[in-house]
């Protein structure tokens, strides 16, 4: 009888890269749905564009690299990148913003470094930063929450805006963004920054209609949704708790200190935690395994540093949000952090 030979162990947890990626994508669903609810279907359209583009680009690059296409496509990493980028850009941004971003993320940030597992930067955030710098107008043209609009924008208009940059009646996105009062609605983070720069106090700024009691209307719920998704990921052990917890804790502490020191110019912790991409960044972006730290201590440092950077950039920097910058900056520090955070191996330095 011919027996099959194999190296131990002979059992496997049946976890796979694909299952990890799919789980992460699934954990995004509450956030995506919330986003769609508050900001329109644009996010779904962007998702479709991103997923299609990502698959095509990934396949094309793999072909150029003479690598098997299907296994790599199947691992879902390109889709995850597409999802993360799609939900990061304004829902009604022109289609080519998404396409350019995905091409850059997959081709440059990921595949040029050697593909999955070899990229040092988070692909979605790399692309986001590229877009933010190259197309600042499009990348900051967030619609106010639909609830704040006098009239909801129909799906056909959203499609038209994305693909032709004009709606059915010939209005541009900027025109559409002007609400009934004739005021262009900025995002809450943007609004605060602008207000503070104009010597309003934060509490004055937060009287704006896009604010709720704690954070921005719509935005806070989106963040809550991502928080739930993140908790699910920790539960299913897809991610470790270290990075999100240290990130959120650091951001909360820093903003709390800032608020205590200067309540007039600084928003409180709640605002920071539930504004912008805080929760998305903490649970979905910063925890990207490839580009994050792998040691427990390192993860704590990594997350804390991102939290600190987010706070610093939001408060002192020129951009309203800072997750992408903070993550990319810390991606660069990963090897250094890991080098100094090797855990103590069993039997080493053990007490006699």
């Amino acid at each position: 009888m011919k027996l099959s030979m194999a190296s131990s162990p002979h059992n496997h947890s049946q976890k796979s890269v694909r299952s990890l990626m799919i789980t992460v994508i699934c954990a995004c669903i509450p956030g995506i749905l919330t986003q769609a609810y508050f900001f329109g279907f644009g996010v779904l359209i962007q998702l479709v564009i991103a997923l299609v583009t990502a698959s095509a680009v990934e396949a094309a690059i793999l072909k150029l690299r003479n690598k098997p296409i299907l296994p790599a496509l199947n691992d879902g990493s390109a889709w995850l990148t597409a999802v993360l980028l799609a939900i990061s850009i304004p829902p009604l941004a022109p289609w080519w913003i998404t396409v350019i971003g995905i091409i850059f993320a997959i081709a440059m940030v990921k595949q040029l470094y050697g593909g999955l597992g070899f990229n040092i930067f988070n692909p979605a955030m790399g692309a986001y930063v590229l877009l933010l710098i190259a197309f600042p107008v499009q990348m900051t043209s967030w619609m106010p929450a639909e609830q704040l609009l006098t009239t909801a924008i129909p799906l056909s208009d959203q499609l038209a805006l994305i693909f032709t940059q004009m709606n059915g009646t010939g209005l541009t996105l900027d025109d559409v963004r002007v609400n009934a009062d004739g005021v262009t609605m900025a995002t809450p983070l943007d609004a605060i920054k602008t207000a503070v720069s104009q010597n309003y106090t934060v509490s004055e700024a937060m009287l704006g209609m896009q604010f709720s009691d704690y954070a921005g209307i719509g935005w806070q719920w989106v963040n809550v949704a991502y928080l739930l998704g993140g908790i699910y990921l920790i539960k299913t052990k897809v991610i470790n708790w270290h990075i999100p917890v240290s990130l959120i804790a650091t951001l909360a502490i820093c903003s709390a200190i800032g608020y205590i020191v200067s309540p007039g110019t600084q928003a409180g912790s709640a605002f920071h935690l539930f504004s912008g991409a805080t929760m998305l960044g903490a649970f979905f972006i910063a925890t990207d395994p490839v580009s994050a730290c792998t040691t427990d201590k390192g993860r704590l440092i990594f997350g804390a540093a991102i939290g600190l950077l987010i706070y610093l950039i939001r408060h002192f920097g020129g951009y309203p949000d800072a997750v992408a910058f903070a993550v990319l900056l810390m991606n660069m520090a990963v090897p250094l952090i890991e080098h100094y955070t090797q855990p103590r191996t069993y039997g080493h330095g053990a007490k006699k």
Binding site: L3, P9, L20, T345
Partner: protein, 1096 residues
């Protein structure tokens, strides 16, 4: 704060980091009692089933054994006996596939049960208190008990621990999925296990004994609690189920919070762990006297219809187990010995159960899926999260793939227990454990290599020191050998005396002359760094003068002269030695000459002159750091002169050999030495003045020069120059006379040998060995009416030079040059019918070898060789012309160049040349005589072995064997014959250079030559000249052996024997006997040693 002991007693448990929870699958097999298998049809019992050495076989094939009878006995080194699991006959003892992933065959006893299952006599112990500690240990030892948890460590070693044991831990964890053997054993045999524990408590007296059992085995926990409740020193602890809590280190951590230091053993922290199965076996051995012949094995997996635990006799084939429990194999069936996490797949089911076999797992493909394809690591660090040793498996994996061994070690690869948890969770399905195993093996191998390299370096240093010493010694020996040369000279004098007496009897006269010249020059230059050239100049002047005289004499000889004059034998020897040594210098010079003369009424005579001149100059100049140039020139000249007789015969010959040899060695920095050796010997034999002029014998001149020069430079310099010239001049005059005889020949052999090895950097040593042995035989013939023959001259020269230079690690340059020349000269007879002139055979060979090896791939070699041979054969004008013999010239040149580079190069050079020349003249004449032949055999053999770093070896073997046979026959009434000359020259050079790490290069060169020569003489007037047989042998052997206990030996031997048997039956005897000259040079050099001892 509670003490540790208090905490333990209170039930505190600790945690190790990581761990996984694979599906348990234990219920497959843990709900049925342990079954007993039917007796298998055969049992295969590997002699080695544990960690340690085999026991010694004490049974034979065909022997009948009883159940429990020992089949092997322990023989030290952790060896354990094995026992017959049942009664039966030993049908074979042969290697069989072993219970190891490789299944490499292991010597096994094959036992065919007789079905009786008859026990041997057992000696149970009822009370262990009666047994001494030692007796108890012996009992455990002789029961063949090894750790039954998996590793198979001999239990008696652990039981005999010399260190205090604080915590004795009983491992009943059994954390691997599927396996329930320990579980079932604990449930069914808790009492025996506790008995075993108590035996160990008796032996080790631990503070406390803790039984650790995973909490998924509540029945076992309960059973042991019940069984141990009488013993307050035993604590039973249920620990959380997590793989790999059954690992020794993890269990210690969980139960005691302690960690075994990296690279240490539990005893380092006062802990000792034993598996429950082992304790059961101890109890059985002590209280029932039963050795370890069976164990519980879990047979499980989805392809087994009746999965359960069975008592399996050690040696039962897995096939029997599977078949007994109903085995339904699937495609690509795997059969795992051990559990799914750490077990190994079996290549065949014909593998026996051994003492460590706890489970046979035959899963189908859905319960344990085959591994998928490895994908890229996404650095998810799931592996690090589950690692019970807190390693960073994903980092280790990167380093293992990149072969960054330093990094692997700094990331504590060797703390990996290969539990497989990381591989289990890896989403990319990377076979991490496999990478670690391979990396560990490679690192271990690398370490062994490093150790070997270190050792080789030490050896090399030792050898270098030794060779230096040797060289020193050799220099001393040269001094001694010159004093020894007096002896051969004395022998020669005796021969000459004898010859002269014969001549006197015959009433002939001749003048005798003895000229002895001696020159002795000694020069000691002490402490002078500069070479002294003035002496050289003087010598050169002298030489020139001699050459001029020689020319003049030759001219005179051409004119007819009165009777004869005997000749003069002039022996000049000059020996100059110059040793300049910084510390010491010796010079010894000696010259000696002998000569004899005979002169008689009946001119016969001829005596001989043997002139041997030798010059030996040695100069060793050793300077420290960069100095010196040496030059040495030597010349030895010999002149021979043979006057002729009224009947013009001949003029003999002159042989002039001039040699010049210049050597210059410039050695720089540190440890240079240059040696030069030059030797020359000249022999000269005058002929007789008789009415019947005969011949003039010949002159044989052999000059040899040997120059060796070793220049060693620091770091990659070496300049070598080799110049060799060998000239031989032979000159044979013919005779105008009615009875012309012949002129014999001249054989000149010149040899030059130059060797130069330059070895560089650190640890160079150059050896030079030069040997020369020359023998010259000269036999004058007789003037008689019936002239017969002239015997022969056999000259054998040998030169042997050896040089071994070994450089630092793996360099060696060898040079071997050998020359062997033999010259034979056989004159024919003076008969009315002129015969012939025999031949001259000149063989010159030069062989130069030069191997220069530099560090790192440099080598420059130059080899120049010249071999010239000149043969000259005169013919006869006579009516009855006979023949002219032949000349055989063989020249050989051999050049070898081996350049060896760093790391793993080896160059071999083999050059062989074998030449044989045979020459057989025939004679048409009524009185044919013949000229015999000359056989020249030259052989050169060079070997060069250079072995380089790490396991390179280069061997070179060169062999040449030549044989020349020459057999003349004589039909004639007056046949005479000339016998032959057989010359054999052999040169053998061996050089073995052995380098780093167990290299050895051997070179063997052998040459055997045989020359046979059988003359026969039917004649009334037989005369004969016997022959000269000259055998020269040179044998040089050099073996250099390194590694521990290296010894390098050099053996050079030369044995020469020359036989000469003249016979003269005749009324007119002629005769001249012969001269036998034997020269032997033997040089032996033996160096043995390690680190600088030196015999001699």
């Amino acid at each position: 704060m509670d003490t540790l002991l208090e905490q333990i007693e209170r039930g505190t448990l600790w945690q190790f980091p990581g761990g996984i929870h694979p599906p348990q699958q234990k219920t497959l097999s843990n709900h049925k009692p342990i079954a007993r298998l039917a007796l298998p049809s055969k049992l295969v019992l590997p002699l080695k089933q544990h960690i340690g050495a085999n026991g010694q076989l004490i049974v034979n094939k065909g022997q009948h054994v009883l159940k429990g009878q020992a089949l092997t006995q322990p023989s030290g080194n952790w060896s354990l006996p094995i026992h017959a699991p049942t009664s039966g006959e030993i049908t074979d003892i042969a290697p069989m596939p072993s219970a190891h992933p490789s299944a490499l065959p292991e010597l096994s006893i094959i036992l065919t049960p007789d079905g009786e299952d008859t026990w041997a006599e057992l000696t149970p112990t009822s009370n262990i208190e009666q047994l001494s500690h030692h007796a108890l240990i012996e009992l455990i030892h002789n029961a063949g008990i090894a750790g039954m948890g998996g590793a198979g460590f001999p239990t008696y070693i652990k039981a005999d621990s010399q260190r205090p044991v604080e915590f004795f831990i009983v491992n009943g964890v059994e954390c691997e999925p599927y396996i329930t053997a320990d579980d079932m054993l604990m449930r069914e045999h808790a009492e025996q296990i506790v008995q075993g524990i108590e035996i160990m408590q008796h032996l080790l007296t631990p503070t406390i004994t803790i039984i650790g059992i995973e909490d998924n085995k509540p029945e076992a926990v309960e059973a042991l609690q019940l069984a141990s409740q009488h013993n307050s020193n035993i604590i039973v602890r249920a620990i959380p189920t997590v793989y790999p809590s059954g690992g020794e280190k993890q269990l210690i951590k969980v139960l005691t919070s302690q960690e075994v230091p990296s690279g240490g053993i539990p005893a380092d922290i006062g802990v000792l762990v034993q598996n429950v199965g082992t304790l059961f076996a101890i109890s059985e051995a002590v209280f029932k006297g039963k050795p370890l012949i069976e164990r519980v094995v879990t047979v499980t997996g989805s392809t087994i219809t009746d999965a359960r635990n069975v008592w399996a006799l050690i040696g039962t084939e897995i096939k029997h187990l599977l078949d007994s429990q109903g085995f339904e194999p699937v495609d690509a069936q795997r059969v795992v010995m051990g559990g799914p996490m750490m077990g190994f797949t079996l290549p065949t089911v014909r593998i026996p159960v051994v003492k460590t076999t706890n489970c046979i797992l035959a899963p189908d493909n859905s319960e344990l899926a085959h591994a998928g394809e490895e994908k890229a690591c996404i650095r998810c660090s799931a592996c690090a999260d589950v690692c019970p040793q807190t390693l960073l498996p994903q980092q280790l994996q990167w380093f293992a793939k990149g072969k960054e061994y330093d990094k692997l070690e700094s990331y504590n690869l060797f703390d990996c227990i290969e539990c497989g948890a990381c591989s289990y969770v890896c989403p990319s399905e990377i076979p991490l454990v496999q990478y670690y195993r391979v990396a560990k093996a490679e690192i271990r191998e690398q370490k062994i290599e490093q150790i070997n390299a270190e050792r080789a370096k030490v050896r090399f240093e030792a050898r270098k020191a030794r060779l230096e010493q040797e060289q020193e010694e050799r220099k001393n020996r040269h001094s001694r050998s010159s004093s020894r040369s007096a002896k051969p000279a004395a022998e020669k004098a005796k021969v000459a005396d004898a010859l002269s007496r014969v001549a006197q009897k015959q009433g002939e006269q001749s003048a005798v002359q003895a000229a002895i010249e001696r020159a002795k020059a000694k020069k000691m230059a002490d402490g002078s760094l500069a070479p002294d050239n003035s002496e050289m100049m003087q010598e050169r002047e002298k030489r020139k003068e001699q050459a001029r005289q020689y020319k003049a004499q030759k001219q005179n000889d051409d004119t007819p002269s009165d009777s004869k004059t005997a000749v003069a034998a002039a022996i000049a020897r000059a020996k100059a030695k110059k040793a300049a040594q910084l510390a010491e210098s010796d010079a010894l010079t000696e010259t000696k000459s002998t000569d004899t003369k005979t002169n008689e009424a009946d001119p016969r005579k001829a005596s001989v002159a043997a002139a041997i001149a030798r010059a030996k100059a040695k100069k060793a100049a050793k300077l420290e750091q960069n100095d010196d140039a040496e030059e040495q020139a030597q010349t030895s000249d010999s002149l021979t002169d043979t006057p002729a007789e009224p009947d013009p015969r001949k003029a003999a010959v002159a042989a002039a050999i001039a040699r010049a040899k210049a050597k210059k060695a410039a050695k720089l920095e540190q440890n240079d030495d240059a040696e030069e050796l030059a030797q020359t010997s000249v022999i000269d034999t005058p002929a007789e003045p008789d009415p019947d002029p005969r011949k003039a014998v010949v002159a044989a001149a052999i000059a040899r020069a040997k120059a060796k020069k070793a220049a060693k430079l620091e770091q990659s310099n070496d300049a070598e120059e080799l110049a060799q010239t060998s000239d031989s001049v032979t000159d044979t005059p013919a005779e105008p006379d009615p009875d012309p005889r012949k002129a014999a020949v001249a054989a000149a052999i010149a040899r030059a040998k130059a060797k130069k090895a330059a070895k560089l950097e650190q640890s160079n040593d150059a050896e030079e060995l030069a040997q020369t042995s020359d023998s010259v035989i000269d036999t004058p013939a007789e003037p008689d009416p019936d002239p017969r023959k002239a015997a022969v001259a056999a000259a054998i020269a040998r030169a042997k030079a050896k040089k071994a230079a070994k450089l630092e690690q793996s360099n060696d340059a060898e040079e071997l040059a050998q020359t062997s020349d033999s010259v034979i000269d056989t004159p024919a007879e003076p008969d009315p019918d002129p015969r012939k002139a025999a031949v001259a055979a000149a063989i010159a060979r030069a062989k130069a070898k030069k191997a220069a090896k530099l560090e790192q791939s440099n080598d420059a070699e130059e080899l120049a060789q010249t071999s010239d041979s000149v043969i000259d054969t005169p013919a006869e004008p006579d009516p009855d012309p006979r023949k002219a013999a032949v000349a055989a010239a063989i020249a050989r040149a051999k050049a070898k160049k081996a350049a060896k580079l760093e790391q793993s190069n080896d160059a071999e050079e083999l050059a062989q040349t074998s030449d044989s020349v045979i020459d057989t003249p025939a004679e048409p004449d009524p009185d044919p005589r013949k000229a015999a032949v000359a056989a020249a055999i030259a052989r050169a053999k060079a070997k060069k072995a250079a072995k380089l770093e790490q396991s390179n070896d280069a061997e070179e073997l060169a062999q040449t064997s030549d044989s020349v046979i020459d057999t003349p026959a004589e039909p004639d009434p007056d046949p005479r014959k000339a016998a032959v000359a057989a010359a054999i020259a052999r040169a053998k050079a061996k050089k073995a250079a052995k380098l780093e790490q167990s290299n050895d290069a051997e070179e063997l060169a052998q040459t055997s030559d045989s020359v046979t020569d059988t003359p026969a003489e039917p004649d009334p007037d037989p005369r004969k000249a016997a022959v000269a047989a000259a055998i020269a042998r040179a044998k040089a052997k050099k073996a250099a052996k390194l590694e521990q206990s290296n010894d390098a030996e050099e053996l050079a031997q030369t044995s020469d024997s020359v036989t000469d048997t003249p016979a003269e039956p005749d009324p007119d005897p002629r005769k001249a006997a012969v001269a036998a000259a034997i020269a032997r040079a033997k040089a032996k050099k033996k160096l043995k040693e390690q680190k600088g001892n030196d015999p001699s």
